[in-house]
């Protein structure tokens, strides 16, 4: 069985094309059914996100399947085959596995190391499993890819550090306060930026959000839009900030609203409770000197962007470590794939032994016919167990061999020693003929 990948991604196709090649539009399940109906694949998983559309397939005839899947991608999405031909990539076996592992690890993402992709790969596999489109090969390669994603996340810094300004703000808040659940946020300014950051904080578990605006009506509207937030009048700003842990300053004011002296006076009754001030206004709302106050952590938009840049640079340094993990897992998968080449021999060996057992039982049928049915059943059971036990160790040995040459040598030896050539073709006549010499030697 061969593993095959056909797809497009942000690396090969412009967004206009990616928008048109979207399997999730009508549901991945339908696409899976449509592809399965064409009969060219044994197993299929479709990974469809806004940055990629990839069909993973296990098949017997890679050449024909490749062409058929390519046609399917064009037909199903109503795109001319010539339009996508330039942007499509096709990978087979270990290269396909490597690609999937890199995708799951976030190495192939637009923002390297982003964590969502692993969940999307898992969802794609789950959808295919539900549609009964996966078998041993895709199960194995996808589960390996989950392991790669997990290892890269825990063993490298590829996913570490926020790479967007709002995530950087949330991650800083976490480093200062730990859990954000009981925290209070004050948003100064009811504009779009403040609202977005507040929404982000809210989604991270912050409970109390207070909106301050020069116009109370405007503040109330924004508070309502955020949901669960309250509005407060402008002249209560000091009291609101004093009761908050995080301040998001995002007004359009031309001059700083929060001077160092003002922040100092707010800090006094708070004693040693830290205050995290995020100044995302341009021009700035908070006097930079306010950051000198002992327990005030002041970050403006430039600072946050700088940390984002640092994080991106740091992620780039982790890429090689992640690639090493990918390579390790590809090798494991390759070993598994090779051990699978022993399976036909194992099956033939089992069939052969079973055939011998059957023919011997048939031969002794006239003697056994005098026995009561329970005793005959016991004879059948015992012979079956003997065969099972004889085969147990060779089967395990054969399956555990991971290097292709040894598998080949073992298979060859077994085929010759047990005359499996005929049995592998499924011929039962040959089986009976070859049993004869053994039968003759049996003591009577």
């Amino acid at each position: 069985m061969n593993l095959l990948l056909v797809g497009i991604s942000h690396r090969t196709a412009p967004v206009e094309l990616r928008e048109r090649v979207d399997f999730s539009a009508r549901g991945v399940a339908e696409a899976l059914r449509a592809l399965a109906a064409r009969g060219s694949t044994r197993e299929t998983v479709i990974v469809s996100t806004c940055n990629r559309a990839e069909v993973y397939a296990a098949c017997e005839d890679p050449g024909a399947t490749r062409a058929d899947v390519e046609r399917f991608i064009a037909d199903y999405n109503g795109v001319a085959a010539s339009d996508i031909a330039l942007h499509i990539y096709e990978l087979a076996d270990l290269e396909a596995a490597r690609h999937l592992f890199r995708v799951a690890a976030g190495l192939d993402s637009l923002v390297v190391g982003e964590p969502q992709i692993l969940g999307q790969v898992k969802d794609a596999h789950a959808a295919a499993a539900e549609a009964q489109c996966v078998g041993p090969v895709l199960n194995r390669v996808f589960h390996s890819s989950f392991a790669v994603g997990k290892r890269v996340r825990s063993e490298t810094g590829l996913g570490a550090g926020a790479v967007s300004v709002s995530y950087a703000a949330v991650s800083l808040a976490r480093k200062i306060f730990g859990d954000l659940a009981g925290m209070s946020v004050a948003v100064v300014g009811a504009g779009e930026m403040g609202k977005l950051t507040a929404l982000h904080m809210k989604s991270q578990g912050v409970q109390h959000v207070t909106i301050l605006s020069r116009s109370m009506a405007h503040a109330a509207r924004t508070a309502e839009a955020i949901g669960g937030a309250v509005a407060a009048p402008w002249d209560e700003m000091d009291a609101v900030i004093a009761a908050s842990d995080i301040v998001i300053a995002a007004t359009g004011a031309a001059a700083p609203i929060l001077s160092k002296a003002r922040v100092e006076s707010v800090m006094r009754p708070r004693r040693n409770r830290p205050l995290f001030v995020i100044d995302i206004a341009m021009p700035r709302d908070v006097e930079p000197a306010a950051g000198e106050i002992e327990q005030v952590f002041l970050y403006n938009i430039d600072d946050l962007q700088a940390t984002v840049r640092e994080n991106l640079a740091r992620r780039a340094n982790e890429v090689s470590r992640a690639e090493t993990i990918v390579t390790e897992e590809v090798q494991k998968f390759a070993a598994w794939l090779r051990s699978r080449s022993a399976i036909p021999t194992v099956v033939a060996l089992r069939q052969r032994f079973e055939a011998i057992r059957r023919s011997e039982l048939d031969r002794l049928d006239f003697k056994l016919s005098t026995l009561p049915p329970e005793a005959r059943a016991r004879v059948d059971e015992i012979t079956r167990l003997i065969v099972e036990k004889l085969l147990l160790s060779p089967t395990e040995q054969l399956k555990s061999v991971s290097d292709a040459d040894t598998v080949g040598a073992y298979s060859e030896a077994l085929t010759r020693l047990f005359g499996l050539g005929d049995a592998r073709d499924g011929s039962r006549d040959g089986v009976d003929r070859k049993v004869e010499p053994f039968a003759r030697k049996r003591p009577r």
Partner: protein, 275 residues
Amino acid sequence: MNLIPLALYGLALVAYAWHFAQRDPAVGRAATTLLIAAALAHTFVIGMVTMEVGHLPVAGATSAISTFVWLLALSYLYVEMTTDERAMGVFILPLLVALQAIPALRPGIEDRAAVLQGPLFGLHVSSLLFAYASFALACVIGITYVLLFTEIKAKHLGFFYARLPSLQVLDRMNHRAIVIGWVFLTLGIIVGAVWAAQARAGFGAGDPRVQAMSLQDPKIFVALVCWAVYSFELFAARWIGWGGRRLAYLSAVGFCIVLLNFVPISYFLTRSHDF
């Protein structure tokens, strides 16, 4: 015999440092396993000595250090397991290794002076050793707090930012360690004073060391200085509103005094605690 725990502490230190640098979870687990092995070996050593001499080896300065290292290792393991936070290990292990080197390289025979007797003596030493272990943890937590605080303030989120728990958590852990340490320090000092009074009046009347047990003795004086420092720290946290960096520094200063009292003063200066 103290060499085996020392070697294991050394290995654990290497593993903790490696884990801190590389953040490989397997190395982290190995580090914890090594430290547990070291603590077990150390427990065995202390258990053997205890069986041999019939009491916990705390009477001489050298064996008290060994027992202190053992208590600190156990306290740290407790903190690591309850908080699931390994980052502190790389700071605590050097202390364990450095202190354990003293009993390992300079083994002293645990012979308890006849005057050191009674349940109060055991309580005095063990509460103080436990208090010192708490202060050691507080010091290390304080140092990590300052490191992280500095990075966040300087807006260079890097090495420690990625490795340490949040400031709030560190602050809380520091405070808790100080409270526990202060309670045991207070207990240890009071029990010691009561014991000294009893000894002076009775079984230890003729011993010059018992006679030297007064505020003029450097060991006792510095212990009271420690008590004053930590009392002030708790007072400042509760009533002045001190927190964060100031308390972290104070924890470090406090433990430096503890360490001063524990090693050089015990060996070279004290007349009252020279056992």
